[in-house]
Symmetry: C2
Subunit: 289 residues, 2 copies
DNA sequence: AGCTCTTATGAATCATTGA
DNA sequence: GTCAATGATTCATAAGAGC
């Protein structure tokens, strides 16, 4: 039993230390939402915005080491407002991570469909967060097909009768067959998404208030890993990333410094739905540093 | 005639020089979409990404001077991809503008509902651009009520067609600036928007193909100015910002280096619909450097 | 007027080819 | 070797034509 089941490990401790004991090139995806500056003050000692980059770099250095060359690092983050201004520590972090050896491949926008209510005289509600994609190499794994979305009625109409536009564009090609081109569209009812994700925040969740909805790590896990791959979240909080990984058949390691969050994450993981025939806690490893 | 009409001036030349002749503290809003690095090579000589900040700063220095203390500067920009990475010149520009004395108040996201098609092995289509808000002081003018939208899914549809409909309905002048049809909604629940704007690019428009839809400057003009205020676009292109300003009863100065764009902007401005009784070209000033 | 269907095209990006 | 030009790929929207 459990041989083909994904393992899910939750470790209590600081990822700066815990990752040091892990092997090089062992994870396919790092997805995380680190404690934002000045948030969770009790947990990480309240990182000051001015010290944020300095605090982050030793941790991202370990992440760079344990990530496979074809792997991806997705950082969900948003700068806070201080004295009426957006703080610049996220911009500085991006520049610093590039200096550390990361490639800044892309910036996805998570559009929070239902963002926090509130009103201020000088700004509107903040309805988006950054999902920064970093890589070790330009040649990383990406399963675009796994996140395709239903298309408009464009394709069906288009295929009935080809417009002049298609014909003329096609004619500009030299020496390839018409059928080859149109074959891409036959039976196609799914379109590739863009770099803007529309996800509602999960509100009204009693026990654990996660920083992001399950759908967020799900999307990136599907996109950047395959079944059996390894997912790491060095600031796993209440375990959302680990649960998403487990449900998708990926192995995972979640690191969390706060004991209560670890407990919550482990509880939730045990309740995770698995394939028929598996015991709920097969493959679960709950080590403590 | 024309006493209460907004003036609209289009000047041909480089804003670095032309702004030098303008008075301090004379504009309420600067809205612009500068030539992106390596784009519009024929017009601006194709600014190299590495040189972008250096190229921009003398111009933004003038902007800082001519902006009123309560005014706002909105910069629509997006970094290009180079060798598989997002370039960092926009991040560096934000940091440099702060050093120059600007406050980075907010970053709005323009979500392009119809972004450019295409497929690549390592990224999805780019569906968003930055609208960076900068100020001279924490105490700037902001008319939040002017951009409220009805609650429910009607809001999305309304925003989508904001440009065209508002344009044709403006003659009916309602204090809200939305046009008469919005009057139907007076008394219903209006909600404040968030910092994510959902607007389609205007494609398939033969006469003037603007980099951004009319609705984009319209939104910021309503938000950050009142009737009779002064709007500046130092890279006005085909005149979209100036037209939006004029239709909303704001005075405007548009600067554009390329003669053909100036001509197009002037043509469009003459066609702009105004309040009843006004001659179409009342208040228009088409100076050439 | 209100539909449907046709057509054009947009601040794109990457791999390949040629200078 | 680097760098510039070209071709291939792709989808949401609006204008316009036709009914």
């Amino acid at each position: 039993m459990g041989v083909n089941l994904p393992s899910a490990e939750i470790c209590q401790g600081d990822c700066a230390q815990l990752l040091a004991g892990r092997a090089d090139d062992s994870f396919d995806l790092i997805f995380t939402s680190p404690p934002y500056a000045d948030r969770r003050a009790k947990t990480y000692g309240g990182i000051k915005p001015e010290k944020y980059v300095e605090w982050f770099l030793p941790r991202s250095e370990q992440m760079l080491r344990v990530l496979k060359p074809t792997g991806t690092f997705v950082l969900n983050i948003k700068e806070k407002v201080e004295k009426g201004e957006r703080h610049t520590y996220v911009l500085e972090l991006i520049l610093a991570l590039r200096k550390q050896g990361w490639l800044w491949t892309e910036e996805y926008i998570w559009h929070k469909r239902n963002c926090h209510p509130g009103k201020w005289p000088n700004r509107f509600r903040d309805a988006w967060e950054r999902c920064l994609q970093f890589n070790k190499s330009r040649h990383f794994k990406m399963n675009q097909e796994s996140v395709r979305v239903p298309m408009g009625d464009w394709a069906g109409k288009r295929l009935k009768t080809l417009g002049k536009n298609d014909t003329s564009r096609f004619n500009s090609q030299v020496g390839s067959g018409f059928g080859k081109n149109i074959a891409n569209w036959v039976g196609r009812d799914l379109a590739f998404p863009s770099n803007v994700l529309h996800l509602a925040t999960e509100c009204g969740n009693k026990n654990h208030s996660a920083a992001f909805p399950m759908a967020l790590p799900q999307w990136f896990i599907k996109l950047f890993t395959s079944e059996g791959d390894w997912v790491l979240d060095p600031f796993v909080g209440s375990g959302t990333t680990s649960i998403a990984a487990r449900e998708l058949g990926r192995n995972s390691l979640g690191i969390e410094i706060k004991e209560e969050y670890c407990d919550a994450a482990r509880r939730e993981l045990k309740r995770t739905k698995l394939k028929t025939g598996a015991k709920a806690d097969d493959g679960l490893l709950f080590a403590t540093a």
